[in-house]
Structures are given as structure tokens and as C-alpha cells.
Symmetry: C2
Subunit: 110 residues, 2 copies
């Protein structure tokens, strides 16, 4: 599992939505494509990105291709994200967002 590939795959709203839908159950490429306002070829490249990240897999059934959420890899990826971002060593510094000297984004162009 390549964390970089997974995060790049997740960094597009359509691809995140595909994951959400497929977690509810498998869908064919055609049905999935029909849900979004982009062309089928574009959807095909989104499928490929998710497949590359191993977040989904596909099965051909006759003339149609059905996509499935790869739940084990999704769980694995979530674990890695929790390790990256989650709890641990958070006691060494406070969070003085309102302290004097804090540079906020809105304050930037003054």
C-alpha cells in the first residue's frame, strides 16, 4: 500500500464520492459514470486512479464491468492516515491560536 498513491487518489471529489458509493455496494462503470457530469472516458481514468491505489477492484461480467470497494485496503489506508495524523506526542506544545503574535491567514496582506 503506497500512501502517496492513496492520497492522490483521494484528492479528487469525484473519486472520494466513488469510494463512498462503492462502500454501500458494487456498481457498474456505466451506472457510476452516469452519476457525474463528466464524460465516460474521464470517469474511466478516475476508476483507473482508484484501482492503481488498490482502493477498488473490478470484475467483468459479460459486457459490463463492475467495481467494488476494496474494503481491506481502505481500512489499511485509514490506519496509515491515523498513524500519520492521529494521536501521539501531542503534549509538548500548546495551541495558542489567540495569543499575541499569531499570524492568521486573514492578517496576511496588511
Amino acid at each position: 500500500m503506497q500512501i502517496n498513491t492513496v492520497l492522490k487518489a483521494l484528492s479528487h471529489p469525484i473519486r472520494r464520492d466513488i469510494i463512498t458509493r462503492l462502500k454501500l455496494g458494487p456498481l457498474t462503470a456505466g451506472k457510476l459514470a452516469a452519476e457525474y457530469d463528466v464524460s465516460k472516458p474521464t470517469m474511466s481514468t478516475h476508476f483507473a486512479a482508484l484501482k492503481e491505489a488498490d482502493l477498488i477492484y473490478s470484475k467483468r461480467e459479460g459486457v459490463t464491468i463492475t467495481y467494488y470497494a476494496n474494503l481491506t485496503v481502505i481500512e489499511e489506508a485509514l490506519g496509515s492516515l491515523m498513524e500519520l495524523m492521529g494521536a501521539g506526542n501531542e503534549t509538548t506544545h500548546s495551541h495558542p491560536s489567540n495569543r499575541e503574535g499569531f499570524i492568521s491567514k486573514s492578517e496576511k496582506s496588511s
Copy 2:
């Protein structure tokens, strides 16, 4: 918290590493920049991406700028990722269902 901005911010290895380091404690832009084999201006744009996602914040101390992990937002983002990818509604996928009209086509890329 914009999930798309957060995920884009996390989709670069240097930026993920910055988060990891800052979670251990604050560091100045200079010290942080010295850790990676890219120029300081390049590091500055990485800081800006993380700041834009609100994953870090900065404080000027005289001539140096110190960066801090924004732990509350990091936790929040992790929560959203868990909601997106995590447990819940993980069907057996025993029979592909015909789900029509879940989310409208108008839900498209940002």
C-alpha cells in the same frame, strides 16, 4: 475545514513529513527547510499549502517564523477521513443493487 484542501495538502511527501515533525513540536521555517533537499522558496510554498489547509499555523518571533501543528484541525481532518473511509455500511456485497438517484449530478468537482 475543507476536506479537498486538506487532502491536497497531504498529497506531497514533504508536506506529510512536515506535519509529522511539527506534531513532535514547533520548528522555525529555516530549521524545517534545512531538513529537505529543496530550496527555501520551495519550502515556503509547502508551508503555504499546509497553512491554507489550516493544518499548521505560524508565529513570528523577531526575524524568524515558527510553525506549529494545528492539532485541533488535524484531528478534525482525521475525523472526516474516517467518516469517508472508515467503518460503517460495509455490506457483504452479495447482490449488486441497482441504486438510482442517490446524489445528484450537480455534486461535482470543486
